[in-house]
Structures are given as C-alpha cells and as structure tokens.
C-alpha cells in the first residue's frame, strides 16, 4: 500500500498564542513552530503501517513557506520515505489545501491518505472531509483505531456518544484523533538519515490550483477575560443575583 500523510507547520502547542495588535490575526513571527500534533499521529500511523509491512511507501506532504521543509524533515526523521512540499508563502484556506492535496493524490495514487482531524492553529477540521468530497473517496474521520482487511479498512471513530466502527473501501481518507497512537520521537540515526531522503518541491501554480483567498478575516480578538467572582452574603442575595444578573433562573 502507498500512504500519503499531511503535515502542517503550526505554532508549537506549548506557546501561549497572542493576537496581533491590529487584530488581523495571531502573532507568528518569532514564535516556536512545530508539526501539528494531530499530524504527528498521522505520521506515526503511517510509520507503523510501514513497519508492519502493510505499507510499502510513506509520503509526507506539507504546504506552506520555505520553513515547512523542516516539518517535512521531521516527518522523514520519524520514518517517512520522501516528502512533497507545496511552496506557498501565505496562509492557505482548508478548501485550497484540499484542492492541492487532491491534485497531488491524483498524481501519486495512494491507497490511503491520513490527515490530522484538525490543525491546532485554526481548528478548522475541514480539510479531510473536503478532500474526500473532491476525490469522491470514502472517509473515516476522528479515527482512534484502524484495521486493514484486504481492500477494506475498519475505522473506529470517536463520536459524541462513544465509539463507532465503520468499514471503508480503499482508497480512503482518514483523519486522526488523539487516541489513535502515541507518536514516537525521531531517533538520532533516523534524523541523520532524513537528510538523504528526497523532498520534491512544487507550487500551487504547478498543480494548477487557484489559491486566491475566498474568505475574509474580519477581526481576530483574544477570548474575553474571565471576570473576578463576587462573594454573596446570604442565600437571598445569591438567588437575587442568579435571577436578575445571571438570568439563569426565573
């Protein structure tokens, strides 16, 4: 099987994100960037399939500025075979990412594509679904377990009510949830090997995809600060405040 995983370079999950002073977005200059944690899970799953002999080739794809190559390199150091970098300096909307992915997938013809269920920067949670629609492929989102049986994959999904298992015919799109696996660290020997693995560079133009933004960001603001609490003197006051200030009882 041939596997494609998508990896996005995002603000490191440890960083306390700040809104830009002009409210146009969040501060990304000079902040630590890392691979989107859900994408790490995608890579790990691919590497495990590779190790189990289920997969024959694992390709890591990233879209973004020059530095996205570092993210691909991390995926290579974790065990991917090669990388594809769609060079684009500006932010890409989920639909554009899905279209670019679709173009790559038509070329590479993988049996399975694994993406994170969302990227922790914009939390869109749309790309995988859009990609499945564009390709007309089956999709298994929020996966916490994958079992391959011939030309099918059984996907255990995390849904509101608990777990759901669905059977998809390959080729299919998978998006990862937190419990699918625990990603490994890149080992030192693999870091050293990673630089010998090829990274192919391409662009939206090469892939024939128009990535002009369709969405307009009006304003980005910090979440409202939590108000300090007040101490009430007695039960009557509490009831009064619940009724008239909080308006939660009548």
């Amino acid at each position: 099987m041939k596997v494609v995983v998508a990896v996005k370079r995002v603000i490191d999950y440890n960083v306390k994100v700040r809104v830009k002073s002009d409210n146009s977005g969040v501060e990304t200059a000079n902040v630590k960037m890392s691979m989107n944690p859900f994408d790490e899970i995608a890579v790990e799953e691919g590497v495990r399939m590779r190790e189990a002999g289920v997969a024959r080739e694992l390709i890591a794809v990233s879209m973004g500025p020059q530095q996205s190559k570092e993210t691909i390199r991390t995926a290579l150091a974790m065990g991917s075979d090669r990388g594809i970098h769609v060079l684009h300096p500006d932010a890409l909307e989920p639909l554009m990412v899905a279209k670019l992915m679709a173009a790559i997938i038509r070329k590479e013809a993988p049996d399975i594509v694994i993406l994170g269920k969302q990227a922790i920067d914009d939390d869109s949670s749309q790309t995988g679904q859009m990609l499945a629609a564009l390709l007309g492929w089956a999709q298994g989102t929020f996966a916490s377990k994958l079992d391959f049986e011939g030309e099918f994959v059984a996907v255990t999904r995390e849904i509101d009510g608990g777990l759901e298992t669905i059977k998809l015919k390959l080729p299919a799109i998978i998006t990862t949830d937190l419990r699918l696996n625990t990603p490994r660290y890149a080992s030192l020997p693999n870091i050293m090997k990673a630089k010998k693995k090829p990274i192919e560079e391409t662009s939206p133009g090469d892939l024939g995809v128009d990535v002009t933004p369709r969405l307009i960001t009006v304003k980005v603001v910090e979440p409202a600060k939590r108000q300090a609490g007040v101490k009430v003197e007695n039960v009557e006051e509490l009831v009064e405040k619940l009724r008239n200030e909080a308006k939660v009882i009548s």
Partner: protein, 600 residues
C-alpha cells in the same frame, strides 16, 4: 515548581555564531554531521528531556532507589525512560561509528548532556558513565576487549561504571587495597571492596561493565602500582551473549542527601574475573581518560543545575506578588507587584543567568577543542587544543559545579520560605547540585590540579593556550569603541591573573603551601577571567548582529554581558588581594588554636 525548557536559542547561538566563526571548521568538515542537522537534533533531544526526564525528576527524588538482596530497583519511570533514551540513539550520539555510534561532535554531545543534567541529573549519571567507560576502553583496552564490549555499551544494552573509591581511599588513590591476581588465561581475579560506586548495580541495562582500579601482587607502592581492570557483572561469551554471573555483588546502597535516583553502591569483588585495560601499573593514566571526560561532564552537570535553577526562579519571580517596587507600584492593578520588580531579586536572577550563559560558552569552547584535538592532523594545532582542554578541565569541573550549587541556593532564596518546602522542587536542586562539587575529585583537588600540575606542565605551556588567545584578542580590539564596557575590564582582569600567576609560581616554588593555599581562589579568578573573555566575544558578535535582531536576543546578550563585567568580574580584585597577602595566616596557624573556643 521545577521549570525547564532547554535553552535552545542559546545553544544554537553558540553553534551558529560563537563557534562557527571561531576557527572550528574542522568539526563541521570531518563528520557526517551537517549544520542543517543541528536544529532537528537539538529540538528532538530537548523534547525528550522535557517530556520524559523532567516529569520523573521530582518523583524519582521522592521515591529514590531501593535495594533488596543484591538488586537495586530504580524509581518508577526510569526503566521506560532509559529504554527510550537508548532506542532513540542518544547513548551512542558521539561515539565512534565503528562501534555503532553516530559520530556526532563531542561539543554537540555536551549540549545534550546539559539538557539531561537540567531535567534529571540522577538519570544522566547512567548514560554519562557509560560514555566515559566507553572512552577509557576505546583508548586503552586490547582489540578483543573493544570488539566485545564497545558495541554493547554504545547501544546502552550494557552500562559502565568507574570504581576508584574504597573505604580507606578517597582522594588518595595510592591507598587502594583491591587486589588483582594474574591467571593463566591472561585474565585476573579481582578481590576487594569499592564504595560510593555510582550505578554499580541497577535494573536499567542487562549487564554492567565495571572499570576497577586494583593492585597486582608485588606492584610498586602507592599510585605507581595501580592497574585498571574491566570486570563485567555477567561474563559475556565471545559472541556477546551473556554467560554466567561474575563474582561481583552490590552489598548495599547509600542513603544520601541528593541524586536519590542514582544508586551509590558498595561493590564487593570476590575472585571476580577481570581483564587488564592498558598496561600493568599504568592504571591511573588509563583511568584518567575516563576521569577527564567525567570531570567535564560533571562541570556540565553544574551548568545544567544552574540553568534549571534560573528558569525555576524566574518563573516564580514573575508569579509571586509581594510588596511594591521601591520607586512606586509597577502593577497598581494588582494587590502587590511580582517580586521580579525588587532590585535584589533581579540582581540574583541576572547573576545566575549571566553565569549560566558564560559558563556555557566556556564549556562550548573547551568541548570544541576536544573535537579539534581528536580530528586535527597538524601536530601543533592538536597540541594547542589538548593544552586548552587540560587547562580548562579542572576549571570547568570546579567552577561549573560551584555555580550550580550557588544558583540552586539563590533560587531557593528567590522562592523565600516556599523554596524550603519540598513540593516546589527547588530544594531538590540544592541537594542534587551539591554532589557535583565532591565527586570526580573534590573541587579542592581540582584547584590543586590546576596550580600543582597544569600551571607547571611543560614550563607553563598550557597557560599560553589561554593567555595568548585572550591577549591577542584584546590587542585586536583595543580600539573597538563598541566594546568599551568590555575590553578594558577584560584587560584589567587578565593583567591581574597574570600577576597572580607569577606570584603563585614564585612563592609556591619555595613554599608549596603558598601554592596550595590559594589554589581555590586562583581557580575562581581564572574562571571569572575566562568567562569575561566569553562575554566580550558574545558582545562583539551581538553588536555586529544588532540590526537583524527580531527577538531581541543579541540586545539581551549585550545587556547581560554588561552586568557580568561590572557586577561579577570585579571579584577578581578581591581574590587578588586575598592571594597576594600570602597563605601564612592559615598555614602557620597553630593547630591548638583551632580548639581554644571550647573545652574538649
């Protein structure tokens, strides 16, 4: 709270700005390591230390190691962390590729050691000793021993120890009693008791390789009669599989002040099979390969402690609200200002910060010279590098660990009473940091090594490796106005050091006590001056990069450097005054005077 993020910005600065321009091209030319590998390696190592080792630091301290009938059990999580550590290839990072290592530069390994020491000093002792045992075997043992033992040490399947200390023999190794009897098959039978053996027994690796100092029958008395032996816990077959238990047993482990997750073992050798490493009666020089590496590593432990003490203290100083800034409230919206506003707290924080960054640079320079000494073909350049390393090793060991302890103490001071409470984890730093001033030769012994051996070796040639470098640098930069807060103060301190060196050399020649007496003060003066050189170079680089400084990194370097030069370096003046007033006031102090204050 123990707070630690690996100081990656600083480490990358050292590589990309400080060393890269410093004539260390050979490091980057002669190995598989490429510049572009640096970020990924440091990032992954940092993640491992922050996510795997830091979380088991405080719990490991609370739980400690336990001993049961010869077996030592490490605290919860240590075995899993060790397995990840070795399977991710960190054990073999800097080791020779011939034996399965990755052949990374030594200087990069030092940064990895620092992260490990900050996040979990106890844990770091296990792989650290293996690395140093590897070096000693690689340097001195026979090819057969090397082929059998080194690959397994490189993977971490087997670990290493060093066995010098005995009950009656600590600093003075000439008092060694452990005996080695030669056998017909080229091996020896080792019998004796060693104490304080770090990692002498544990459950992390399947075999433990002890390097043991012992005497053979009829050997010369004292230090000249000592030989070094390799004694495995389990004797391997020639193919590396494990055969049968050797006559080695852990009798007990010590209940001690700190590094509680690092077992300190009493080791009993009872007719244990061992093999000679290096030549007969040349055990000290064979062991010194291990000790020199270990001394640098222990200095790095001190640096690691300094860094985590700093970050933990800074975290608290920003968070804790008490009192107001002396010039009026800085945060009138809050019930009190964070204690970071108080001048005394700021000064203590900056003291730790500027020492941490300064010592890191000195260690980086020295570790890079270890690489140069290893790689360089040119005899003279190689010798220069070796001279530098030999000179700086006692300085880094002693001063690095002194500031580790001092910084941990200052961190507790910044926490106030809360620092004394275990929950916050900073009192552990004091207890852990303390050992580094003692083992691998006490810091007093390091000072004697500097004054008694390193100063005099080859008629002072070692000193030239330092003085020439600094004096040339000063000469080149004497007109550099940008460095006016640096170069004049560096000049003053190197002149002081020069004078004091001459004074000690002259006085010590006629009266050895006059050399030994001020040795520790002298070592400190040397360290302060060497760090002043590092800070001057940092400032030099930083002024040049000022215009491309989005993170304010270089600006901060210049400001921290000014603090160091004007607030910490002046101690050389006091030290000089103390040294040149001579040692008589204590060397000639009548022994009975020590006891006049009380009745025995």
């Amino acid at each position: 709270m123990q707070v630690y993020k690996a100081p990656l910005n600083d480490m990358k600065f050292l590589f990309k700005d400080f060393l890269y321009d410093g004539g260390f091209d050979i490091i980057f030319q002669n190995s598989d390591f490429e510049f572009s590998d640096l970020d990924l390696i440091l990032d992954q190592a940092a993640r491992f230390c922050e996510e795997e080792l830091l979380p088991i630091n405080q719990t490991g301290d609370g739980e400690g190691c336990s001993y049961e009938r010869g077996q030592v059990i490490t605290p919860t999580g240590f075995k899993e962390a060790y397995e990840k550590y070795v399977s991710n290839g960190w054990q073999s990072a800097t080791l020779d590729k011939k034996y399965g290592g990755s052949g990374l530069p030594y200087v990069l390994g030092v940064f990895l050691d620092e992260m490990m020491s900050s996040s979990n000093m106890s844990f770091g002792n296990f792989p650290g000793l293996t690395t140093n045992a590897f070096a000693a075997i690689e340097k001195s043992a026979s090819e057969e021993l090397k082929d059998l033992y080194l690959p397994k040490l490189a993977t971490g399947e087997w670990s290493g120890t060093m066995n010098l200390t005995e009950p009656q023999c600590g600093t003075d190794l000439g008092l060694t009693r452990t005996m080695a009897l030669p056998q017909d098959d080229d091996s020896y039978r080792i019998t004796g008791t060693k104490i304080f053996i770090t990692g002498g027994e544990h459950d992390l690796s399947e075999n433990i390789i002890h390097l043991v100092l012992a005497k053979t029958p009829g050997a010369p008395k004292g230090i000249k009669g000592i030989s070094l032996f390799l004694v495995p816990k389990i004797i391997p077959n020639p193919d590396g599989s494990l055969d049968k238990n050797n006559g080695v047993e852990c009798g007990s482990i010590e209940d001690k002040m700190g590094i509680k997750a690092s077992p300190t073992c009493v080791m009993r050798y009872n007719d244990a099979k061992g093999w000679l490493v290096g030549e007969l009666h040349k055990g000290m020089s064979a062991m010194f390969v291990m000790m020199n590496g270990a001394r640098l590593m222990v200095g790095v432990q001190g640096l690691g402690m300094t860094e985590i003490a700093y970050q933990s203290a800074l975290f608290y100083a920003k968070d804790r609200l008490q009192g107001r800034h002396p010039g009026g409230a800085k945060h009138p919206d809050k019930p009190a200002d964070p204690i970071l506003v108080h001048p005394d707290v700021r000064k203590n924080l900056l003291k730790i910060k500027s020492l941490s960054e300064g010592v890191r640079g000195l260690i980086a320079l020295t570790a890079a010279q270890v690489d140069v000494a290893r790689l360089e073909k040119d005899k003279l350049k190689k010798q220069k590098a070796e001279d530098w390393v030999a000179l700086m090793t006692p300085i880094i060991k002693a001063y690095g660990t002194d500031i580790g302890s001092e910084s941990a103490n200052l961190a507790v001071q910044i926490y106030g009473g809360h620092g004394y409470i275990k929950e916050h984890g900073v009192e552990q730093l004091i207890r852990d940091a303390r050992i580094a001033q003692l083992y691998e030769g006490t810091n007093g012994i390091q000072a004697l090594d500097l004054v008694g051996r390193k100063l005099t070796q080859h008629n002072g040639r070692l000193l030239r490796s330092f003085f020439d470098l600094v004096e040339n640098y000063i000469e080149e930069n004497s007109l550099n106005e940008q460095l006016e807060d640096f170069v004049p103060l560096l000049t003053e301190s190197i002149e002081r050091l020069d004078q004091v060196t001459a004074f000690i050399a002259a006085k010590g020649l006629s009266d050895p006590s006059e050399g030994a007496g001020p040795a520790a003060d002298y070592l400190k003066m040397f360290a302060l001056t060497a760090i002043a050189y590092v800070w001057t170079r940092y400032a030099d680089i930083s002024y040049k990069k000022q215009n491309d400084d989005p993170k304010g990194f270089y600006k901060a370097k210049i400001e921290s450097g000014k603090f160091y030069m004007s607030k910490l370096l002046p101690e050389t003046g006091y030290l000089m005054a103390s040294i040149i007033s001579g040692a008589k006031s204590y060397t000639d102090y009548d022994d009975v005077n020590f006891e006049t204050g009380f009745q025995l």
